[in-house]
Amino acid sequence: MKKNAFTTLFLLFLTSLFALPAQGRQIELRAELGTPVVEAGREHTTFLKISLTGFELSGPEERTPANIALVLDESGSMTGEKLEEAKEAALLAVDLLDEDDILSVISYDSHVKVLVPATRVADKREIRRAIRAMKADGQTALFAGVSKGAREVRKFIDKERVNRIILLSDGQANVGPSTATELGELGMSLGKEGISVTTIGLGAGYNEDLMANLAGYSDGNHAFVDDPEDLVKIFNYEFGDVLSVVAQDLLIRIELRDGIRPLRILGRHGQILGREVTTRMNQLYSDQEKYILLEVEVPEGMANETRDLANVTVSYRNMANSRQEDVTDKVTVSYSASDEEIARSRNREVVTTATKQVANEMSKQALQLRDEGKREEAQSLLNSSADFVRAQGAMLGGEEKEQLEAFSAEVESEAEAITLDEEWDKTRKSIRAKQYRQDTQQNY
């Protein structure tokens, strides 16, 4: 009996040993409050941060196969270095992919050309030849280019693949639908289908709102490339992301408990229905943290009372084992009369993140003011944002203080630049791209 029991225990131990790595191969979910302990006796608003971190891939052979459409601008404005660098970047993409991946190459000017229909990346020579033959001419039928790209991706669309359109443009879309709203709607629809669109704006001529919308609603990346020589680098980052997807089709559900009221989601699109908040992410990259920041209202409570605040469930497709999985977490909030306890329990990291995100929202407002011609108002808004960030830093102290001071300095220089006419096109694009990075935690 004893021996039997021992054997059973040993077996259990062994199983757990094998099971452990399997456990670790899940995405990591953390739901945290900026102020887990609040002052008793009055209402509060606080930030709930739900962060998701992709697990590490054990090796390159484990990566998820990709299904990519490169949609490249070859309108007249691309003539010269821009087109050459774009070709280089596209050739790099061909190098980075292998036979398991699907690639299509679409170019657009006034018309759309499918240079390489969706195909396995087996005959790289043929694909390279098609890319090298591109010639710049005509106008910018961006919408049609993306639409054809989507069609190519759809030919091999598969939950087991990273389905993505990578769009490069240096100009205003001027043939076909070309408003930021329409492209946002298209992005939304493609996002629902599991196709992300990464938009790369080249030079100072493109419409950054349109490009950011298209990327934002489809959960792709967005980047502003001033110098065409940086294109290859950006493509490298992008493929770094694409080839490190560990989870796809993430549905994040936050159920707030009685009395807790959701106020707003910062940075991302989501849906608030009563006390239930849902949002989606198309994918999660290996070793990268993405988060949702939700501002909530907490009702008054008594000292030493602890309440359940929210249940968070994330359903996703684990690309490592091709299974649908769930992870859950719970958040509670406590009330205290002691200021010291409240300060001690403060989650410095969440507060820092929230501060940056709030500043980002203010930056968006400032940009809108600037667009309306209210330069002084935009500047003073950014200045007050910088002050706010610095004050938060001072409150937190330590490492976070330095971090936030640096951030505050960035906001100040933004405040400086926002009134200038000189190179405003470029400045606006760089601000827009920065906001986008902050919103989506894009790592480049």
């Binding site: 919408f143 989507a150 639908p177 629809s189 289908e193």
Partner: protein, 527 residues
């Protein structure tokens, strides 16, 4: 000179007339051809656009089919619908009406998007039968303008609605400048679900479906209700000012249009071919005409050269001939009375005179000698000339009957006048000797000096009377047979008469011919 002009005109006509005729035929052929081509082209355009329309209709029916299958399985509670809405990639918003046509979804409180949506569909809430009405309206549209593509979407829904509770269809309504599409489905229990399509996605899907043909010889554009270009394909670049052919899409996208522009290659090629043919023909004809013209002028040049040669030779002959005559005449004075010798000498002198006249004719023809105007006693001149011919006439048995009544002097060139008479008399001697007599008369009438020479020979047929004055023309009959002649005598005589301000004419005198020379008494202007 005149003749050359006439020839030139003839040649030009020879080129221009057939070309004009051919051109006219070609034009008629081309116009009728281009009508046929136009009809064929229109058909082709129609077919191409219809195919595009059909593609779009097929897409819409596949969407409709898909939803008709899936909608019955949907949970009809708010939460379920919310989830479905989040999953439907082509749907932007949806509504649910209860069997009593009360709106069950979206439910109050509405978000701002939902608020907008609900307000825009106000008409439906008031009268849900509008959805159906739209369908029937579109069906009426089909019967009015039959288009095979139109019906496919609605045929099914119409069939289903007959006697069954569930029905489905498209509904189009205006949103701002654009249009929105809505698919509705009625469950057997009487609930109605309406799915509003995401317009950007609809456009994107259509673009994905339409071809990206770059080599085509046409260009097609798709425009939405607001007139915005959605997509274009085909590499044809229209000429500035060239219009696009418009073609509305079938319901429910009937406010969208397809625009077509393209080249009409076959008609153009045919026209080009004809033009090429005409051009070649023109070149050939012009070449031929040029060749003929050159040939003709070459002949003329050669003739001129020959005449020049002859006149040169004649000129060279003049000097020895003058010597022969002079010495013969001198010999005559010194000769004794031997009649035999005198006879021979007489022949030498008269023959050398004849030769002198001949040479004079040739030289007159080729070169125009200057006029020497002086007072001339006409009757004396005529008589003197006749005297020269008397020996010759006598040997041929010709009697001269002179009736010289002019009795006047005239300011004229005596040599030239004498030459005219010489020519006329020499013709009588040569061709009308068998007439037995020649009447020579002079008179003044109506301010004109008239000299007539009438023979009693065979006469000249009326048809020939005009031609005898042409150079080198000789009547080809027994009359001229065996008689040598240059064929220029009368030509020169008439020319000379004209130079002297008068004219030389011939008339029938049966028997014989009568040549009448008229000269103005007051000397006329020289031509």
């Amino acid at each position: 000179m005149k003749k050359r002009h006439a020839n030139l005109l003839l040649l030009v006509a020879m080129v221009v007339l057939p070309l004009a005729l051919l051109g006219w035929q070609a034009y008629r052929l081309l116009t009728s051809d281009s009508e046929i081509q136009q009809a064929r082209y229109d058909q082709l355009v129609e077919a191409r656009l219809q195919q595009v329309d059909q593609t779009i209709q097929d897409y819409l029916s596949s969407l409709a089919d898909d939803w008709r299958q899936r909608l019955p399985t949907w949970p009809l509670d708010a939460r379920g619908l919310q989830t479905r809405l989040a999953d439907e990639i082509r749907v932007r918003q949806l509504f649910l009406l209860g069997p009593d046509n009360r709106r069950l979804f979206p439910r109050d409180p509405l978000s701002s998007d939902e608020q907008d949506f609900v307000e825009r569909l106000e008409a439906i809430w008031r009268d849900p039968s509008l959805l159906q009405a739209r369908r029937t309206e579109s069906e009426a549209g089909i019967s009015a303008a039959p288009s095979p593509s139109l019906s496919s979407v609605f045929r099914k829904s119409a069939r289903e609605s007959d006697g069954m509770q569930s029905a489905a269809g498209w509904y189009m309504w205006h949103w701002g400048a654009g249009t929105r599409l809505l698919f509705w489905w009625r469950s057997p229990a009487g609930e109605t679900i309406g799915l509003a399509l995401e317009p950007a996605r609809l456009k994107s899907d259509l673009i994905g479906l339409l071809p990206e043909d770059e080599t085509a010889d046409f260009s097609i554009r798709l425009r939405d209700a607001a007139g915005q270009e959605i997509y274009q394909w085909g590499s044809y670049v229209p000429e500035p000012g060239e219009t696009y052919h418009h073609y509305p899409l079938s319901y429910p996208l009937s406010s969208w249009t397809l625009e077509y522009a393209g080249s009409q290659p076959t008609a153009a090629a045919a026209g080009f071919g004809l033009l090429l043919l005409l051009g070649t023909l023109a070149v050939v004809l012009v070449g031929l005409a040029l060749y003929l013209y050159r040939e003709q002028t070459r002949e003329l040049r050669e003739a001129t050269r020959k005449v020049e040669f002859v006149s040169q030779v004649s000129h060279e002959l003049k000097t020895p001939l003058t010597n022969i005559r002079m010495y013969a005449e001198m010999l005559e004075e010194q000769l004794g009375d031997d009649p035999g010798q005198r006879n021979y000498l007489g022949i030498i002198i008269s023959e050398s005179q004849r030769l002198g006249r001949l040479i004079g004719n040739v030289l007159n023809f080729s070169r125009m000698p200057p006029l020497h105007i002086r007072e001339v006693d006409i009757d004396a001149l005529v008589r003197q000339t006749l005297d020269h011919f008397l020996p010759g006439f006598r040997t041929r048995g010709l009697e001269v009957r002179a009736d010289l009544q002019a009795g006047a002097t005239l300011e004229t060139d005596a040599d030239m006048l004498e030459q005219i008479l010489n020519n006329l008399l020499s013709n009588v001697e040569k061709y009308a000797a068998d007439g037995g007599a020649v009447d020579v008369a002079t008179r003044v009438a109506d301010g004109q000096l008239v000299i007539s020479v009438r023979d009693h020979g065979a006469g000249i047929p009326a048809a020939e009377q005009k031609k005898i004055f042409d150079a080198f023309y000789r009547i080809g009959n027994s009359l001229t047979e065996g008689v040598s002649g240059t064929g220029i005598g009368l030509t020169i005589a008439r020319q000379q008469a004209q130079r002297l301000g008068g004219d030389l004419r011939v008339s029938d005198a049966s028997p014989g011919a009568c040549f009448t020379l008229r000269l103005p008494v007051i000397r006329g202007e020289m031509p």
